[in-house]
Each structure stands twice: as C-alpha cells, then as structure tokens.
Symmetry: C2
Subunit: 303 residues, 2 copies
C-alpha cells in the first residue's frame, strides 16, 4: 500500500512534496492546489486550525471538513502519509515548533509573558525553516574553502557586523588567524591587502548594501576566495565564489525582531564546527587546547 506511483496518486508530484522537507503544514500548503476537491476541504480545515485537528479523530475531522471519513483517509495518503495516525504524528511534530508564524504575530495587547512565548516560538520556527532550506552543496564548498584558508576576514555592517564579530571569535575552531572588519574604510583597506589563499567572508542580510559588494569585488580581484552569507538570492550572491543563502521567515510586523542574525550565527556555528572536525587527528589536541583558552578568556578576563 505504498502510494508513490500508484493509481491513487493525484497530480501532486513527489518533488513538490519533498520540497517542504519535514514540515507537513508546508507540504499541505504546497500540494493544496493539486488536491481533489474534497481533499482540499480537509486541507483547508487543517490549515485553518491545526491545533484542533491534532486532538480530533477521523470522524471529527470528517465532520469539520464536511466530507466522509474515507475522504479524510484519502487526504492523508494524498499528502504522503502512511495513514491518519501517521498524519497526526507528523502534524504534531510540525506544530511543536509553535503555531506557524502567521498565527504568532505579536499583538499590541500581549502580555510580556505572551511576548516571550511568541518570540521564542518564532525564532525556533524560523531556525527550522532555515535548516530545511539550507543549500548543502554550497555549505560543503564553503567548508572546503575555509578549511584550506591561510587567513579569514569577516565583513559586515550593523546586525551583520555582530555576526562577523562572533565568527571572528571562533578562530580557534577555524584554526587560522581571523579578522572582523566593521568600519567601511578599514574594510576597503583590508580587502585590498588580501591575496590568494585568503578567504573573504562577506555577511549581509539584504545582500544589496553597496559598500559590501564593493568589498567582495576588491577581495576577489586580489585573488581571495569570497564566500557570502546572505538572506536571499541577491546581487551579492552572484559575485561570490560561494553563496550561502539563509532564508528566514520574514514578517513585516514592526515588532517582529530580526531573526536573520540568529540563523546566521547558527550557520557560522555549523561552518566553524565542520572545519574544526575536518582537521587531521593530530591537530585535535591543539584545537582542544585553544578552545579551552577561549573558554578561559570568556570566564575571566583580568584587567
């Protein structure tokens, strides 16, 4: 009773389904258009109030959607689940990250407690999204470049400057000298001095900042490898050797904090850790030592 290529399959193609990764709600949203009319009714009530369905039985769901029970079952298989049971498990997992962002928009009347809940939820949901949209190939290329680098320079402004500085602090993991430039004049100077074997790591959420693109260009002209970390497939991405695009759920609500920097920080964690793991075993002790030094430095920095 696999439903892959059998006759029961509707127009909803497998690749569409996979695109959403593990989040069943996303899968439903995407396949919705390709579903049968009645299945769509089920899809709609699930999307409308997933929490309700989580506690519902097949019968209740059928009533809510105004369809028959088997239709609910067919809906479940149509979106790629093994059965209703499996569907509910998957729904529960999708909902664990908090009700989808659209539901958790902050209201002016929210109590601080609610605000905390929502912001945490939103952050976690966004991280989940970022993870499922990571470009693994680009990631691998970036790790390759970083592992071979002689020095690494991080560039960024504003919120991205924070990320750059954080990355720079991870130099013990990267194992080579790292710099972080936040002043645009300094940036130009440093970029001009880079040469083959160096890696310029350019961070810009928007990917449109003029001066940051200039940095990328200069570093590249001098023979340095250029990696960028950006929020969308921007102009900056096209002029780099590797573009790490970290998509985040953006939300125009003024209260919604910028999530992009959190996702970027986690990506940096992944890169630095992977690079550290790439090093030969005989270096491990040395890295361990460095890490401890960093740890000590954080713990107690005497005047």
């Amino acid at each position: 009773m696999r439903r892959e290529a059998t006759g029961t399959e509707t127009g909803a193609s497998a690749d569409l389904r996979n695109a959403g990764g593990r989040n069943i709600i996303e899968i439903i949203r995407m396949t919705r258009a390709a579903l049968r009319k009645s299945d769509r009714k089920v899809a709609d009530i699930v999307l409308h109030d997933p929490q309700r369905i989580l506690k519902a039985t097949v019968g209740e769901t059928a009533t809510l959607a105004q369809v028959s029970q088997p239709t609910v079952l067919r809906f479940a298989t149509a979106i790629g689940c093994k059965g209703f049971r499996d569907f509910k498990i998957r729904l529960a997992q999708s909902l664990a990250l908090g009700t989808p962002a659209t539901h958790s928009v902050l209201l002016g009347t929210d109590e601080p407690e609610t605000v905390a809940e929502k912001i945490f939820d939103y952050t976690m949901t966004s991280l989940d999204w970022a993870r499922s949209h990571l470009d693994k190939a680009a990631m691998l290329k970036a790790i390759d470049l970083l592992a071979k680098a002689r020095t690494i320079e991080f560039f960024g402004f504003g919120a991205s400057g924070i990320v750059a500085r954080d990355a720079q602090q991870k130099f013990p993991l990267f194992g080579v000298p790292c710099g972080a430039q936040l002043d645009s004049h300094q940036q130009i100077m440093v970029a001009s001095m880079m040469k083959e074997g160096d890696v310029a790591f350019v961070i810009s959420n928007t990917g449109t900042t003029r001066s940051i693109m200039e940095i990328a260009r200069i570093a590249r002209e001098n023979g340095a490898a250029v990696i960028c970390l950006t929020g969308s497939d921007s102009p900056l991405a096209s002029c780099c050797d590797v573009a790490l695009i970290v998509e985040t759920l953006e939300n125009t609500n003024m209260y919604t904090p910028t999530i992009s920097r959190i996702a970027a920080l986690v990506v940096i964690d992944v890169l630095s850790t992977s690079v550290a793991m790439r090093r030969p075993v005989e270096d491990q002790a040395r890295i361990h030592n460095m890490k401890r030094q960093l740890s000590d430095m954080r713990k107690d920095q005497p005047t």
Copy 2:
C-alpha cells in the same frame, strides 16, 4: 489544560511534572523514580528509543516493555497524559525539536550535513529549554526598569560582548540612548559616570568574571539600577537588582558550540520588544520611524 491529575494518580506529584514544562521526555525522566515498577519499564523503553515508540501501538509498546497493555495506558495517565493517543502526540512534539541533546552529540565521523542537522536541532532544543526555564517575574521587573530608564548601558566581554553590542543596536526599540562597552577600562569609566535613572545591563554567561562584577558594583553604588543576564545563579546574580538567569543545556563535548549567546540574544529580543510595546500609543509612530531608519541603515550604509 492538559496534565490535570486524575484519580489514578500515583505518588508523582503535580509540581514535579510541571517543572519539565511541555517536554514529555523531560517529564518522564523526572517522574521516572516515582513511577510504579511496571510503569518504569515502559518509561525506560520510551526513553531508550522514543522514535520507535512514536510508530508503535499500545500492543507493540506493551510487548517491548514486557508488560500488559493496560499498564502502558496507566503509564500514560501517570505521566499526565489524557490517554495513549495524547501521549503519542506529546511525544511527537517533544521529538520534533530533535532527538534529545544527549543523542545528538557530534561524532568525529559525522558528515557536514549531519553536523548541520545536529547543531540546528541542538540550538532549537536549547531554546525550548531556555524558554521553559525563564523566570517570568524577573523578566517583568527588568522590563519595568528598562522602560523607565533614562539611558541604558550594556556591558559584556567576549561572547557576551557580542550580545551587548547587539542589544545596543536595538536602541530604537528601547527608545532611549544606549551604549555598549566592551573595553574594561571604558567600562569602569562609564559605570562610574552612571547615576540614578540609568540602567546598567550586565551580561556574563558564567557570572563569575571578576571585572564584570566590579562594574555591577560601581554602577550600583552610583545609584543606577543593575540588571544582569547570566547563565546560572551565580555570584553576579546576587549583587544585582534583577537577575535574568537563562539556563541552557550545557554539554561538555568540545564541538558543541556555545548556545548561551543565542539564548541571550533571544531574551534581548523579548525585552526590547516588550519595552517598545509598553510605550504610549502616541510614540508608536515615532518608534516605527526609528525602526525604519535602523532598517535603512542596515540595508545601505554609504561610505
């Protein structure tokens, strides 16, 4: 809402259960000792391979635990679930955040892809943990102080310095001038200049850094309110007006990246957003405007 006690209740007291927040696995770990002998068998196989149980029926679970089916049911109610169904839903949600941290420790042999998965998972799990362990009362007091502040100064070293800088960048939300001091000499100078009405926001993950405690002391002597953001109930916490303790799952594995700064950043998000929401309605437009300015600044910073 979910875990009210029924008559079947065993010695496992309600407060114990609530301590774990929403994560059923944690709840099981904590209540395990207080469970009946047979129930404990069930608890053990759940903890041992939660993924397996997620796909199992009552019967299968009973066989795996070598108990009868009703025992499995009783186990479910004992840990505060409405029934086996409810238990599975909750288990699914707990597992969605990634297999518990202990399972996702990085191995030297992991592929970069796996590393990414694990780090994202770990970050999300930790955030979930941090959320459920937030001290709401302290949070409220901090928001009160920040909302009334005339100026805010953030202090931090190393990784915490990153957090301080990030917080400072949120000044449009706080609505008052904010500073971030990262150099210890500067810190002493600025702290000495603070006076009543000012807020010193001291960030230190360990909470034991000598110089940072000195800062807190100086600022306090001068009449400034002192808020600290720290990772545990440390010496620093006891000498501040408000102590925000953000517990994170710590893990001694060398590859595990420091999660504390991520949690701290999210807490700052919560604080700044709450403060912004606290402002009178007539200020909202002004804040909105400031926020846009900040946004523009991020987008494009001409040389």
